[in-house]
Structure formats: C-alpha cells, structure tokens
C-alpha cells in the first residue's frame, strides 16, 4: 500500500441550463470511508481533471449528509440515489456520476425539482385547519394506521422514484410515484381524511395515478424504502370506488 491509490470518477457536466452536457474525468486521492460527496469536496479543493487541466469545480447540492433531506440525488453508476450514502468503497470504478436528467439540469449535478413541489401543491399534500381558534384535540388514530403513515412520511422529495420510473419522461406528464404516497399519507390521517375526495380527485386528473405502468422500479429505487407500489395499488382501489360512486350518484 506504499503507492497512492486513486479514485477514478467520470462526471457528466453541464455549464448552464441550456448548455451541452459533456463528460469529464477526475482522479482523486483515495482516503478511507469516502462517499461521493467527499469525493466532490476533494475536486472542489483541487479542481484538476484527469488530463491535469485546471477546471471549474463540479457543482452539486447536498445538505444533511444522512439521507433525510433529499438534496443530493444523482445518478451513480446508472442508479439514481443519494450521493451521501453512496460509499466509494462499495462502488465499482470508474464511478460514473450524472445528474438526474428527468429534471431540468441547472448546472453539473444540480437539478431543478420544482415539478415535485408543484405536484404536492396539486394533490393538496397537507392538512388544512382553518381558523385561529382552538379546535380541541384531533381524533386518535389506530397504531397500525400510524405505522403505515410513518413509512409514507419518510418521503424527502428526492426525485429518485421519478428518475427510476419508465413512465416519467418528456413524452408523458406523469407527476410521479411519490405524489401517490403523499396522497395516502394525508388521506389516511383522521383529520386529513376530511379532504380525501379532493386529493383523490386531483390525483386522477391528467398525468395522475393512471399513468402508472406497474414497472415497480419506484419501490426498488426509493432510498427510504417507502411502500410506493402498495400505496399506488391502495389508491387504485380507492379510485375504483370513487369512480363508481361518482357515476352512480350523478
């Protein structure tokens, strides 16, 4: 181990939102227990590519570094995932790092995930409580429901499920699997259930639930292990009832 080990990175870069993507290779010194973020920090400290040219350091986003914020999503060796939990020792080299191109690329690995936040607004992923007066304690919820909701509440809007889904692309308007999980989260809350139909109705508009093609990549890719396909099938069942209820009462 006298020779210095290096890490070989191939990064897909883009200088500006409308820029042409290009690949750049980096060879950085190996340290123990590195993750993709610390590799990026190493490039930031010494922004020299594999050819020895000084370049602009690679731009990326990250916050929590413990897989709860969802900011550092990128495609690492073909798989969309969080860069903070992508350990160098567990990755095959050369490590290929790309932005999640399902989203508009702002620069290098930074993408604009606004469409996800728009989707949350569309499906009303919150519990409206009007008035400033004391409404008293909310209804109790069964423990089994709480456990189910806890799993769904882990969603960090990271965008990995959209990147993994074959039906989320420029030809389709699918808002993405995560939104279905969030509708389940708020619809299964005893107070949130009061606006159940509204959320379900908005989820069945164009680009909604029906665009799911059951490839089940979302549940495989989700870094938080959210039971997205169960949430989708459960919502499908509710949508079936909703449809018949609506027809028969019109």
């Amino acid at each position: 181990m006298s020779e210095q080990q290096t890490i070989h990175l191939i990064v897909t870069r883009q200088d500006e939102p409308n820029g042409t993507p290009y690949q750049e290779e980096f060879k950085i010194p190996y340290r123990k227990n590195m993750n993709v973020i610390s590799a990026m920090m190493e490039i930031q400290r010494n922004p020299v590519n594999a050819k020895g040219e000084k370049v602009a350091p690679v731009a990326w986003e990250s916050n929590c570094l413990e897989e709860v914020c969802g900011a550092c999503s990128m495609v690492i060796n073909g798989r969309p995932r969080q860069a903070c939990t992508a350990l160098i020792d567990k990755l095959e080299q050369p490590i290929r790092i790309e932005p999640m191109k399902t989203f508009p690329v702002i620069r290098d690995l930074i993408v604009d995930r606004s469409r996800m936040f728009d989707a949350l607004k569309r499906v009303k992923a919150w519990i409206p409580i009007d008035g400033t007066h004391d409404l008293g304690p909310g209804p109790r919820q069964p423990e089994t429901e709480r456990q189910w909701r806890y799993e769904l509440s882990k969603c960090m809007t990271c965008g990995v499920c959209l990147e993994a889904c074959p039906n989320v692309n420029s030809k389709s308007n699918f808002i993405g699997p995560f939104a279905v999980g969030q509708v389940q989260l708020f619809n299964s809350h005893p107070t949130g259930a009061m606006n159940k139909e509204e959320r379900l109705g908005s989820l069945l508009d164009d680009g909604g639930l029906q665009e799911c093609g059951n490839s089940q990549n979302c549940v495989q890719a989700c870094p938080k292990g959210i039971p997205l396909t169960t949430a989708i099938a459960k919502t499908n069942r509710e949508a079936t009832k909703y449809m018949f209820r609506k027809w028969l009462s019109m």
Binding site: G78, R79, A164, P166, N167, N169, K171, S172, G201, L204, D205, D206, G207, G208, L209, Q210, E211, C212, G213, N214, S215, Q216, N217, Q220, A221, P227, T229, T230, I232, A233, K234, T235, N236, R237, E238, A239, T240, M243
Partner: protein, 216 residues
C-alpha cells in the same frame, strides 16, 4: 368527467383488455383447440358459434371495436414509455417492457390474422369446412406457422401479464404478497393457454388434418 378524461380512458383500456378482448382470446383459443381432435370437431364448434343470434353485432361490439380501442390506445401508451431495463434489471421492469413489446407484436399479428381469416371469409363466403381447409392451407407454410406461433404466444403473454396489471390497476391485489402470488397464478395461465394455442396451430398444420374429415 372532463378533467379526468385520461383516467377514464386508461381505465376503459384496462377493462376492455379483459372484458371482452381477454375473454374473446380465451374463447377463440378454446374453439381452435378442438382442431386437435380433428377437423370435424373444429367444424362443429365453428358451426355452433355461427348459430349464435346477432352474430355480426357481437363481432362488431364485443370484438372489433373494443380490440381497436385497446390496440390504438395501447400503442399510444407503449410509445410513451422510456424503458430502462439496463439500469433496473428487475423482473417487474422486464415484464413492463415485455408487456409493451408483446402488445405491439400482437397488434400487428392480429391485423394480419384478421386479414387472412375473417376478411377472406367475408370475401369468399366460406362454409365452416372451407374455413377449416383454408386455415389448414395457411399453416402449410412454415413461415406463416412460425409467425403464428410467435403471435399467439405474444398475445397470450400480453393477456396473462395484463391480467396481473389489471388486478393491480383496479386495486384488487394491493400488497406485495398478493401481487407475488398473482405473478405465479398468471404465469401458470400463460403456460396453459400457450399450450392450447400452439397445439391447435400444430393440429391445423398437420398434413392429415383434412383427411381425417374425409375418413369420417
């Protein structure tokens, strides 16, 4: 209903794939399977179907129009997908891709098959025995026979895997265990129905198929 049009269209696509298109596929392969018992059994089956009341209406509203809708809308759905089995080599992702591939194969196959059989029947006004002989003659061509076997297997796959998806899309199989069991159930259906389809094609191709009729 106006804003939820795509939801409605998609659910209609899913429903028509089972009733009546899926049902018709099973009925059709069951009828053809009688060919394995000889031309006479097949002809009897065909004649009993031809004796149904409102046959033309049944054909138009229970076969042709649903099939056309399912095929055309399905093609639109298939072309929307951006397959990524290279990065996600999971079983379900392959099934997702194969569902779209077999759908397109089936659409092309069915169009060709309708031209070769149903439209020829309408043009020449075949009797059931002439229809049996016509099919027998078609299957003499090894290329036709091979393409028919591919088409039938694709259609049966599309039906079986489509039934798996149908149960998910209508919220019948919700949890992972239910969906896992459903995978096996429809896997077995795929094998059994493929056997029905292939064995009848081979029976039609048998050089002695029509002679059996003459002997009786």
């Amino acid at each position: 209903m106006s804003t939820q049009r795509s939801f409605f269209n998609r659910r209609l696509h899913s429903l028509l794939g089972v009733i009546p298109v899926g049902f018709f596929l099973l009925e059709h392969l069951y009828t053809n399977w009688h060919a394995t018992k000889g031309a006479k059994a097949f002809i009897e089956q065909v004649e009993s179907i031809w004796s149904l009341p409102f046959l033309l209406l049944l054909e138009i509203f229970f076969i042709f129009l649903p099939l056309l809708y399912h095929g055309v809308y399905g093609l639109y759905v298939a072309l929307q997908a951006k397959n990524n089995v290279g990065n996600f080599g999971t079983f379900r992702n392959y099934m997702f891709m194969l569902q779209r591939v077999t759908g397109v194969i089936t659409l092309v196959f069915v169009a060709w098959h309708v031209w070769e059989t149903r439209i020829q029947l309408a043009i020449y006004d075949f009797t059931a025995a002439e229809l049996a002989n016509h099919t027998h003659q078609l299957m003499q061509n090894p290329v036709t026979l091979t393409l028919y076997i591919i088409g039938v297997v694709a259609a049966v796959f599309h039906f079986s895997n489509g039934m798996w998806s149908f149960l998910v899309s209508w919220g019948i199989t919700v949890g992972p265990r239910a969906q896992y069991i459903s995978t096996w159930v429809w896997g077995v259906v795929f094998v059994l129905v493929s056997y029905l389809g292939i064995s009848s094609l081979l029976a039609f191709a048998n050089p002695e198929f029509m002679q059996q009729l003459a002997q009786r």
